[in-house]
């Protein structure tokens, strides 16, 4: 150990990193493309299932351990994953390779899920679409929860620890969190670039007026499908990273409350449509949620209710207050500058003279 960081800060950082990936992907679909995505959990759980089911099986078959249906049996699974972790601990290149292979696979499946969602997204609008996507999310959750051979069903499975080479104790914790934050920032910058690209501007045009966008030759069907595919892929990467971080997968923890409604609250706080606002929204909520859990004993002495319900009330109140008094969020979306600021200033000077 070189230096020590308070576990509270680490906890905030990990919630921030994962929350950022999910919320940025949600903002791309809701804020930029104008699709009412109420089924974010769908892509997230898909990514997590990939991380739970694929890399472990792959490695198990490589070293000659059972990799079929019996892999997901909770009585055998932890022994297999234990063996795998021993190999991953010494073989860094294999571990990193597996990590990226899984993330790419998760992104592909997430994109496929997004493509499937584009079918209802073309036919339905707003609340109806929201309810339909929400229903899709529940279906996948029910299947993952009940079909044991995929990822352990009710018992869940352990996920191979691709970060074992960093260490096992606090070093691992710190290392993984730094990597996750790296991923979060990469996703953030990627989406930021995407929004400023012609594709992003086409999405905004579609959001603001479908008819106008069609008149200018934009294919609405394709744009919607592409937005949903990119968003789904990013959310699936977030889900896979979360499964790798926690080292286990249980379908029951991927609820629509945690992975759809809370990201919505983060997004609304930051300002729907403003990618930079997501940083603030996610960070604020990560701090609040972590602090509530960290100081729950002190809180219970002060307010005689369980901190979990306190958290619900706080998130609920935040949503209501935002909707009522500041629907545009803390940092409302601003018109995007298509040229650097100096260029715009130059043009302005020039036009003034003329």
């Amino acid at each position: 150990m070189v230096f020590e960081i308070h576990p509270l800060i680490l906890n905030i950082l990990v919630n921030f990193a994962i929350g950022l990936i999910i919320t940025v992907s949600l903002n791309l679909e809701v804020g930029i493309a104008g699709i009412s995505q109420f089924g974010r959990v769908l892509a997230v759980i898909t990514g997590a299932i990939v991380a739970a089911a694929i890399p472990g099986r792959l490695l198990a078959s490589l070293i000659g351990l059972p990799s079929g249906v019996e892999y997901a049996d909770h009585l055998i699974n932890f022994k297999i994953v234990d063996q795998i972790n021993k190999i991953l601990a010494v073989n860094i290149s294999l571990a990193v390779g597996i990590l990226f292979f899984t993330l790419i696979l998760a992104a592909l499946l997430g994109a496929f899920i997004g493509y499937l969602c584009s079918y209802p997204a073309l036919r339905l609008k707003e609340a109806y679409l929201g309810i339909t996507l929400l229903a899709f999310g529940d279906v996948v959750n029910t299947i993952a929860w009940n079909v044991d051979p995929i990822a352990g069903g009710t018992q869940g499975v352990n996920v191979p620890d691709v970060f074992r080479w960093i260490g096992v104790g606090p070093e691992r914790y710190l290392g993984v969190i730094l990597i996750l934050i790296g991923f979060g920032l990469v996703v953030f910058i990627f989406v930021e670039r995407l929004i400023r690209s012609p594709f992003g501007r086409a999405l905004k045009a579609m959001r603001d007026s479908e008819v106008a966008a069609t008149v200018y030759g934009k294919d609405i069907v394709r744009l919607r499908a592409q937005a949903l595919m990119v968003g789904g892929a990013l959310a699936a990467i977030g889900g896979a990273l979360w499964a790798f971080y926690t080292g286990s997968f249980k379908a029951v923890t991927y609820t629509r409350l945690t992975w759809t409604f809370w990201p919505w609250a983060y997004m609304m706080l930051g300002g729907i449509g403003n990618n930079l606002g997501m940083l603030v929204g996610v960070f604020a909520f990560s701090v609040i949620r972590t602090l509530i859990y960290a100081y729950k004993t002190e809180l219970t002495a002060f307010i005689p209710i369980s901190p979990q319900w306190f958290e619900y009330i706080l998130v609920g109140l935040a949503i209501i207050v935002l909707v009522l008094f500041r629907p545009q969020g803390l940092f409302p979306e601003k018109p995007a500058l298509t040229l650097p600021k100096e260029e715009i200033e130059k043009i302005r000077q020039r036009t003034k003279k003329e």
Binding site: S36, K125, Y128, A135, D138, W264, V315, L317
Partner: protein
Amino acid sequence: MLDLILKAFAYSGGIALTAAGITLIYMATRTFNFAHASMVGWGFYIVFAGYSLLGGTPYYYVPLAALFSGSLGILIYFGVNRHLLKAGASPITLMMSTLGADLILLASINIFTDYLTEVHKLNARYFVLELKDVSLGIADSVNIRGIPFVSLAVVILTIVGLHLFLTKTKFGIAVRATIENTSLATVLGISPERVYILSWFLGGALAGLGGGLLSLTISGYPTIGMTIIVTMFAGAIVGGLSSVFGSLFGGFLVGLSEYLGITGLSLTFGGWILAYRLIIPLAAMVLTLLLYPQGLAGIKIPKFMLKGSQVKSQSKEV
């Protein structure tokens, strides 16, 4: 078999009432009410708490549950919905606001559950009231309980009562006028505010009523509303979201097909399929939305079901 059919009827009756509540609120205020989940949950807990603390039969507390959830509806209207309607918020904003209200109500149910558990030493985290129901006798070695009949009777009374209210009373006609064309109704001196309050109260009351009756059929826990809200939405959407009677019918149909369908499937495929019962209402809902967005009420055959069919012209955005 008899037992199964009776239970299916009791369940479907409860779902039908809650679906009607969702539709009523949606028709009047264009709000998809997520808080319905917790309003139904409160229905469960009012009946449970009343029965456990005061005794009698659970039925005594069902009207109380309706009143309580109805007042929750009024609270949500004055707290959140009213301001948003005045500001002309988008349907998604309206939906999100009820989600916030739902989180707060869910927390309140949980706090109430903690209170019942700690102060009154009740097993409030998970309860079954089915056995506390009155027994009407035994036929074919099946203990026939009161709830299927009560549930059906309440559904029929709701249909008759709402029909009389909407067609025979002045205020009822004003309600229909406001739903069909708010600005025109306002010109004629009808206050839309009163109609909104009434629909939130009635919608909440139907949620509480449905929840109270369902507590005698299925087991209760704090998140019960979140579990069955998908079935409730499915009922409302299959019913077309444009007629209270349509959604009563739709809710009943979805409830029946879920309960009977999954049992039928389990007889063919084995018990493992029971875990997937949620998929039946979801499939019904998604298929209805994708193939026939107007729902059952959009089908032109039963004239008497089409009380709200004119509203469709407003809700074309499907």
